[in-house]
């Protein structure tokens, strides 16, 4: 096995989009934890859920296998690992930029040592105004809450910081 084999397998797995937020790849989200290729070309991928009940994990698992098989990897296994627990701090800066472009307010960095931070204000991803308010603490998926902009009146999703 060469380093490039590993790098290529990781790159292939990393291109799999999140089924709920297709603008992000699983690499952007930070849920692709590890990719290992052994000397017989077998690939072992570790992914971690954002929330315990995230219903996208089964689809992601299938998509990772399909993406790698399409690139010629024969024996692909995907393992779900819980520890260490995922945090929004693992989302890449590129991922946060893509989220905002897509119209979802990205998570804020977590304060050191603090559990769930209280976001007092979010910037509207549509018009950029900081004059926004939370409509509902739960949104279309477990990882998001629903907000509205007081200036442009557009509702938008916020990727909660955990």
């Amino acid at each position: 096995m060469t380093v490039s084999t590993y790098a290529r397998a990781r790159a292939v797995a990393g291109t799999v989009p999140d089924p709920e937020i297709p603008v992000l790849t699983i690499e952007d989200l930070g849920i692709l934890r590890d990719v290992a290729v052994d000397d017989r070309g077998r690939v072992h991928v570790q992914i971690t859920p954002t929330y315990s009940g995230c219903p996208a994990m089964d689809a992601i698992r299938a998509d990772v296998v399909e993406a790698l098989e399409r690139e010629g990897y024969a024996a692909v296994t995907v393992e779900l690992v819980l520890s260490p627990a995922w945090t929004t701090d693992w989302m890449s800066e590129e991922g946060k930029r893509k989220l905002e472009e897509y119209g979802i307010a990205p998570p804020s960095p977590l304060p050191a040592g603090g559990p769930v931070p209280l976001s007092l204000s979010l910037r509207c991803p549509q018009c950029g105004s900081p004059d926004t308010r939370e409509l509902s603490r739960f949104g279309s998926t477990a990882c998001k809450s629903l907000w509205v902009c007081n200036v442009c009146r557009e509702p938008f999703d916020h990727f909660k910081s955990i």
């Binding site: 929330y51 520890s83 769930v116 509902s136 603490r137 739960f138």
Partner: protein, 249 residues
């Protein structure tokens, strides 16, 4: 079945049954956002239940997976507390129940972060962040209803009175084997009660409500003894898997 498997199953059954119950609010909650909220809370709890059931099956080593344990055990084999199987009642009763349960779960998962069972500790590390958010959601409703109109105050107090007697079962540690406590796998739930009470009472008082003084209900969930409502809940949860074994879609 070892005491370790039984312990993990009891933890799993609490969150599994609570999740199934919350799912019943979908399309029935007072507003659309609340349908979404209760569904999401149920989904988090279901995720926790799936990890725990899978772990219990692996510890048991007899080939039972999460589906076998959720769909093909009978009522007497479920070890959940009565609090989680109770039928909805008023929305205020559901919020009272969610406050009591999520606050307990937050203390439980915090304590299990250092469990010597690595899988339990890993589940706890994810779950603790989730249930904290759930407890906060319940807290906001209890404040809004308790410190709202005369009618909402009356119904929130009634909801609290109805659920309070069932909270005590959460802290009955008699079902936890002493060896599991010695080896650091389990926590004694009675040690969680003081912090739980501190948090719950603070919310109740802030909501201008009165802490109930009722005596604990007669229960037996940890021994597989359930209320009449449990049978209907299981029938709904299990009938598809039992009518069409192995079905997939």
């Amino acid at each position: 079945m070892t005491e370790h498997v039984r312990y993990v199953l009891a933890l799993a059954d609490d969150v599994l049954v609570a999740s199934q119950r919350l799912g019943g609010w979908i399309a029935r909650a007072p507003e659309l956002e609340e349908d979404v909220a209760l569904a999401n809370i149920g989904l988090d709890l279901l995720g926790q239940a799936r990890s725990l059931l899978t772990h219990a099956g692996a510890l048991e080593g007899e080939g039972r997976d999460e589906d076998a344990l959720a769909y093909f055990r009978d009522e007497r084999d479920f070890l959940n507390v009565h609090l989680v199987e109770r039928s909805h009642g008023d929305f205020a009763a559901t919020m009272a129940r969610l406050l009591l349960l999520s606050t307990y779960l937050h203390e439980l998962w915090t304590a299990l972060l250092t469990s010597t069972d690595d899988t339990l500790a890993a589940v706890a590390a994810k779950a603790v962040k989730e249930v904290d958010y759930h407890a906060d959601h319940a807290r906001m409703w209890v404040l809004r209803l308790g410190d709202g109109t005369e009618e909402s105050h009356r119904r929130m107090q009634a909801g609290l009175e109805a659920e309070w007697p069932y909270a005590e079962e959460l802290f009955d540690g008699s079902y936890v084997d002493a060896a599991l406590l010695e080896t650091g796998v389990a926590v004694d739930p009675s040690t969680l009660r003081e912090r739980w009470a501190g948090r719950v009472v603070a919310v109740v008082e802030e909501a201008t409500l009165t802490v109930p003084t009722s005596r604990p209900a007669v229960t037996g969930g940890r021994r597989g003894i359930h209320t009449e409502e449990m049978g209907y809940l299981l029938a709904e949860m299990q009938h598809l898997a039992r009518s069409h074994p192995g079905a997939s879609w």
